[in-house]
Amino acid sequence: MQKKLGLVVLFLAFLLIWTGGMAEAKTIVIGTSQEAMGLDGRVEPGVAEAERGNTILEALLCFNHDMELTPRLATDWEHSDDGLEITFYLREGVKFHHGREFVAEDVKYTYEWLLDPDNNAPNRSLYVDIEEIEIVNDYEVVFHLTQPNGFLINNIARMNIVPHDKAEELGEEFGTRPVGTGPFVFDTWRRDDRLILKANPDYWGGAPKVDELQFRVIPSDSARLMAFEAGEIDMFQSGIDPQEIPRLEEDPDINVGRVAGPGYEYVGFNQMSPIMNDYRIRQAVSHLIDRQGIVDHVLGGVGSPAYSPIPPMLPWHNDNLEPHPYDPDKARELLAEAGYPDGGFSVSLHTSDEDHRIEIAEILGYELGQLGVDVEIRVEEWGAFWERIMYTTDYDMYILSWHGQLDPDRATHRQFHSDGGRYDYIYYDNARLNYLLDQGRIVPADSQESLDVYMEAQEIIYRDVPYAFIFYIEEIAVSHPYITGFEVHPYHPASWENAHLFDKTN
């Protein structure tokens, strides 16, 4: 017995010694809800992939916090007068993590790889206007386009440059241990657990202030918040229960960063549905959405009422519009005009299984029910929901969102042009709008004409209601006060790309 007790005491002593006082490198730990599938943006275009990848790899340009294009690997760029050439002047003396200098050949390789259909790059279609890439010298490269495309530059800002030698050598493996020019160097990755990146002391923008950056995956929102409050993770963005936000904002030991993001959630109407085909019914639905109420009570005050597909931060946003007011009487009138004074029809409303979308669907279902409309709400798992909206016409209304609306073309053409490709899942067709959206691609992006085109386009969308906009997304991030140099970025994938400026001061 004595012996056993001795062993136990010895064990406990060990425990105390080894759990206390372990010296650690200066590490910033970022929490995330989702694991990345790969770190190579050429093949994996999602947010989880980009927010990690952008700390290791860099694009020619990037977006600053005001969503303006700023130099990254290119120091300057210019469009030719005919809009058929874009010249990039590359930053000199930038080294990839394996020691070789970044040169024009890497830019050419990256884009040619992307455009080769055999490589199955999902975003290839964004870049197909690039006809040829000409290397002028190691630090100057010209993109020749098949037609003017004023907004291509925004997509170029989203594509990271890979080193041609390493990308060839690693092939598909590149996404599991990428090599870039960014402030952090890939170290180890245990999927669904952690991604460890080490500081790149030779980074052209200055060596990072911390030794290590870690991404830790915590799928449960409540567990992630707890881990944050307990100090086990230093910061994270998105995935905060709305009910927690007031408490977090009052806590002096927590910094809550909020900024309007370039996206929105909306109710989409299937134009193939004989009922939803009538704009008066669509308008009626829009007037039944209490947008401010939804923002305040469903979203915990995060977000703002929406009324246009072009987010307010972009110069093309039409400020003259305002949200359709919540007005059930007006909705009743509109239904009567459409021939349904007492409702008396039934429609389906589909949504994926996010809590807030289900709540919004229930609210809208109730409001329509008050006007005698029978709404069947169907909640589906994401993959099934997505397939229904994307490939079938078996729905009347659905709730979904658009993110990363970085320019007016991305925010309108795919969604509302009758030839918008696979995203035209509402089958909307408006001749004037089609014309305007085509014009928008041809006129120079920084011209008054461009502004005029999109102002009118937004007015048409506002009147005709192919979408009923619900709210503009607001990005929200929490960090501890001892983290300095961090500011939440409106474009989530860009949030940590300047992590070399972050410091940990505790």
Partner: protein, 327 residues
């Protein structure tokens, strides 16, 4: 006995085929396809169809099934669609974490349920008995994710000893390291991370086994040979631990084996709450991404494990049960 084992092993074959069929067709017939989910917002329809074809998804389903099952029989589960790695490698990498979690949960549940079951049986009707039965009822009724969250809130947030998420080291390897190098660090780190997930996973099993142990013990205590032992003048301790407990353990052993399979299933929830990088999370993520090869192989492996454990329990039951042994 040998004949019995061989027959049971042969029985595994239709089980495997059945499971493979169900798993394959369920995931393939479910709406949603991996490429559409992979490509995000910007791919064109032509690009999507071309990528689908390179993965062979344009082939008839039965062709895809035979191709997959044929390869699987040779131990080749193919490549993950999203992770560009072999599925075998991915499963192997993750299985350890889940097995460790399930073992620890089982270990804790036995450690608590057996003594508690005996105690409540001996003190039948006392407040200890009533209290334990109530706690057991609550334990069975509580959902695992809720237990997990409560543990995080009350223990994790208040005691630095318990980390709130993740798995920084393997306890098994830590124990091995400790016995080879006397460095306990890895073992302690592994233990600290494992303990809360294991408790939340094992709560329901503990409750069930406690009740089972109690009723089994009560039954054994009523039997003639126990009365005889008492009549011989043996002390209570000897009667209980030497004579009664061994027999009372038998049904519990059977259940423990079966429970192990359920623990593997329950790991799905616990791994999400505690961010445990195990097999269950690999499979769950693969389901939402429709990463067919991982879902198929992962489910097949878990089903096979379940079947093998069942078999092992049946065989061990034959060895353990005195009625069979002494016949």
């Amino acid at each position: 006995m040998q004949k019995f084992i061989i027959r049971r092993l042969l029985n595994l074959i239709p089980t495997i085929i059945g499971v493979s069929l169900v798993v394959f067709f369920m995931i393939h017939l479910a709406p949603g396809d991996p490429i559409t989910l992979m490509v995000g917002d910007d791919a064109s329809l032509e690009d999507i169809q071309r990528i689908q074809a390179t993965y062979g998804f344009d082939q008839p389903l039965y062709v895809q099934y035979f191709r997959w099952f044929g390869n699987a029989l040779q131990g080749d589960f193919g490549l993950s669609i999203r992770q560009s790695r072999t599925v075998t490698g991915l499963i192997w990498e993750r299985a350890g974490a889940t097995v460790e979690l399930a073992f620890m949960a089982m270990f804790i549940s036995i450690l608590i349920s057996v003594p508690l079951g005996v105690l409540t049986a001996l003190r039948r009707g006392s407040w200890i008995d009533m209290g334990a039965l109530t706690v057991a009822l609550v334990g069975i009724s509580m959902p695992r994710f809720w237990v997990g969250l409560m543990l995080l809130i009350y223990l994790g947030l208040n005691f630095d000893f318990f980390p709130l998420f993740g798995r920084d080291a393997s306890l098994f390897r830590g124990i091995f390291t400790f016995f080879t190098t006397f460095n306990p660090q890895e073992m302690i780190v592994g233990f600290r991370h494992l303990i809360l997930p294991a408790i939340s996973l094992g709560t329901a099993a503990t409750a069930l086994q406690t009740r089972l142990m109690r009723s089994s013990m009560l039954e054994v205590l009523r039997q003639d040979y126990v009365r005889t032992a008492k009549a011989k003048g043996l002390s209570d301790r000897v009667v209980i631990f030497k004579h009664a407990l061994r027999n009372a353990m038998l049904p519990v052993v059977t259940i423990v084996g079966l429970q192990f399979g359920y623990l593997l299933g329950g790991a799905v929830v616990v791994e999400s709450v505690f961010s445990w990088p195990g097999l269950a999370r690999l499979i769950i993520n693969a389901v939402s991404q429709r990463d067919f090869p991982i879902v198929q192989a992962g489910t097949l492996v878990v089903a096979l494990t379940f079947a093998v454990i069942n078999l092992a329990v049946d065989i061990s039951y034959g060895f353990l049960n005195p009625k069979i042994r002494y016949d």
